[in-house]
Amino acid sequence: MPKKMHITLTVNGKEEEFLAEPRELLIYTLRERLNITGPHIGCETSHCGACTVTIGGKSVKSCTMFVAQADGADITTIEGIGGPDNLHPLQEAFKEHHGLQCGYCTPGMITRATKLLEEIPNPTEEEIRFGMAGNLCRCTGYQNIVKSIQAAAAEMSAAKEAAE
């Protein structure tokens, strides 16, 4: 048996400790070990973005990171962004603007979009398409994904202005 490592992760604010082989891919750690099944496995080859999570302020494809690399990391998944009782403005906007069809890519889309809107709070359509280029939708529902992100950006900016 290959040697296991002692791993500590913070996922959605909760500390997790376990033993794992270094080669375990982070997406499997999240889904199968920690039962955090929001991040999806689409292509498993760094292309589709369904497995996107946020690590240390970066959008990361969790199929392309070994759990050993993530040891000590602070990870946010879709579960940490919002839930049925407290939808994030992006989740609300995807719901309102039909930003999902089958929904498989949606956790990755929304997780990536949270980071995009942090970096560019009021993006143009072109900036959204470029900033979301690492996430694929096999239903090809991109028009409404863009609309949803635009709507969420407007909502979040208005809320921020109201708070100031």
Binding site: P22, L25, K58, V60, K61, M65, Q69, G134
Partner: protein, 284 residues
């Protein structure tokens, strides 16, 4: 996809990295962002019994914009390049090229050092570094040494870096004139069907100096001296550009793959070089 098992190390300093490389030789590989290496390990096309993660090694993530050169640490990411304010003024071509690499998620992880050291002919930074006449800094058991980017690439995945050496930084001399990095790809995230890096100096309407390198059109990046020579002394008119395109086509050696047959790649290479020359000249 489950890669073969490996021993994982995360040394705190370069001394620790070098001693692991000395101990394990070609059974060990260093990893920066991992976005070239991990996919190859998942496919079991790369066998890495000892994986050395560089993320805790200090001093590899700095960007220093000096008066006569720019030094970029090996662990600087493509995303760092894109957002760095000093580079935006001193070397906007780096940002232009980095934005054409992969996608946002990959650019957060992918590093300049990994991109140039990996030796994948599809990577974009090697051609750009050859165009800008960059120097690569290596460290090994016997100390440090410098290798010009134009002498670094030997064949696909074969470079002047020895197995027990680590690429720590690249230095780019002060940029001159106008620049462009033009890339044709089938889709976002793809490697180039053809790409061209051009630096060109305009003195009173005459091309005083030019440097041209091509990406993914041979098993290494190709610095085309003949294409440069075809431009120098001209007004970069249509006949000079055609001469540069013809000279470049004599230097590349593309092979057929899922991006197209050889004739198509040569056709695209010519068009991409024309666009890059025209854009660089308009900025010179």
């Amino acid at each position: 996809m489950i890669p073969a098992a490996f021993e994982y190390y995360r040394p705190k300093d370069m001394e620790g990295v070098l001693s692991l490389l000395a101990e394990h030789g070609d059974e060990a590989r260093v990893m920066a962002g991992g976005h070239s290496l991990i996919p190859m390990m998942k496919l079991r096309m790369a066998d890495v019994p000892h994986l050395i993660d560089l993320q805790d090694v200090g001093g590899l993530s700095d960007i220093e914009v000096g008066t006569d050169s720019i030094r970029i640490g090996a662990m600087v990411t493509q995303s760092d390049i894109i957002t760095h304010e000093g580079l935006a003024t001193a070397a906007p071509i780096l940002r232009e090229a980095a934005l054409q690499i992969a996608d946002p998620q990959v650019r957060y992880m992918g590093t300049v050092g990994g991109n140039v050291a990996n030796g994948d002919p599809g990577n974009d930074m090697p051609g750009l570094m050859q165009c800008l006449d960059a120097t690569f800094h290596l460290i090994g058991a016997d100390g440090t040494r410098d290798v010009p980017a134009r002498d670094f690439y030997e064949a696909a995945y074969m470079t002047a870096r020895e197995d027990e050496e680590v690429l720590t930084a690249v230095t780019i001399p002060l940029l001159k004139g106008g620049h462009a990095y033009e890339k044709q790809k089938r889709k976002i995230g793809d490697y180039a069907t053809a790409a061209a890096a051009v630096q060109i100096v305009n003195e009173g309407g005459t091309c005083a100096a030019a440097s041209i390198a091509m990406t993914n059109l041979s098993d290494t990046p190709i610095y085309s001296q003949a294409a440069c020579d075809a431009l120098v002394g001209t007004s970069v008119d249509d006949s000079a550009i055609k001469a540069a395109m013809a000279a470049m086509l004599g230097d590349i050696d593309p092979s057929e793959d899922n991006r197209g047959p050889v004739a198509f790649k040569k056709h695209v290479a010519g068009i991409i070089l024309r666009r890059a020359i025209e854009r660089a000249w308009s900025r010179a």
